[in-house]
Amino acid sequence: MDLLNLDVAREYFGVLLLGLGVTVGLTLSVITMSCVIAIPVALARMSPNRLIRMPASAYVEVTRATPLLLQLVYIYYVLPSFGIRLPAIAAAVIGLTFNYTAYMSEVYRGGIKAVAQGQWQAAAALGMTDTLAFRRIILPQAIRIVIPSLGDYFISLFKDTALCSVVSVQELMFKGQIISARSYQYFTIYTLTGILYFAVGYPAALFVRWLENISTRGYSRRKRR
């Protein structure tokens, strides 16, 4: 097939690999921060105090009802008008984290609610405060419940990082666009780009499925060993 130009592929492979590195780094840093920040957001949304609950709800609803692409563009191109100038990579990390935290807080909220009410009562009856009961008894069970959903978000985040090319983050998609436009080898470069996404995305999806299996197994010694 003449379309696939191996020389071009070899020439630009290293550059694309660098882009893949940025993509993976972006994914890992955003998923880590979102996983953590989403917990207090979920708690805020469940707070009996309106002053805590309402801002959290507003944040989640606004974020979920507007496109991620718009949020990224907004942070990178609009915030400078208010004197907030961020490097592209920072804008990307903040925008993605902002967006994913909203979705993931909903996942946690569902997970926390899914833990049986009797668990709170048993913890309280043992003299645990709500904070301690949450940390030691409820959260560990909730996390196990939400792992499959968090895994799905992890995979979709990996692919959504491609949107950061519009705010000029030098991730895999951005590199692919630049190189293909320069070399006119659209087929070769974009195919290679796709292969690189798949080479990481597919094992990641397998990993997520494995996590899912573990998390739905139930708690027992025999199976754990």
Partner: protein, 252 residues
Amino acid sequence: MIELVDIHKSFGPLEVLRGVSLTVGAGEVICIIGPSGSGKSTLLRCINHLEHPERGAIRIAGQSVYYDLVDGVRQPHSKQRIAEVRAKLGMVFQSFNLFPHLTALENIIEAPIHVRGMSRKAASARALELMRRVGLEDKAEYYPEEMSGGQQQRTAIARALAMDPTAMLFDEPTSALDPELVHEVLEVMRGLRDDGMTMIIVTHEMNFARQVASRILFMDHGVIVEEDLPERLLGSPREPRTRAFLKNVLER
């Protein structure tokens, strides 16, 4: 030692407790019987503040717990103070409520370590001793879902005992168990009685109540209808409602 005065509790328009007073002395075993919906469990849950009564006072060892009455207005105690009182009242639930993500041993040492600040080593040693006492010394590493209902409930009793409670509250501890597992839990409770533990037990096990109770209370529609020594209440109840209930239960 535990004193309830004129407890009132409603769920919405439904009055579940309509003025219940009760005094329990140290070492007493009180069994509460009555039809479902009579308020037995709610009363028990008021004692450790899992339910918050709208009116009435609860005193433990002479001290007013959960609320102070300031100029006729109830002031709730801090969460920390409430937690400290609860820690001294062991509670055993109908559905066990063991922590599924922890082994039997971890279930038992969780509160001693994180509420009382005990060392893991000391807490574990004590937990193993308690597991021996409830006949589960070989199940320390088992997760709740790997154990039978009877074993889970005995673990739950050990978990409550690990906090060195001054009294134990049992909320229908054998109601969720297969019939052949009921006796192993009752045996453990009998052992506690013999050791002088103060216990308040909501139960449907009439024979057990007859054997272990110092007093039996019959509750219906949110009030204590009758209370008496086991033989008298079960043998020759005075109130028609008690008689009707016992007739239904004992003739089954």
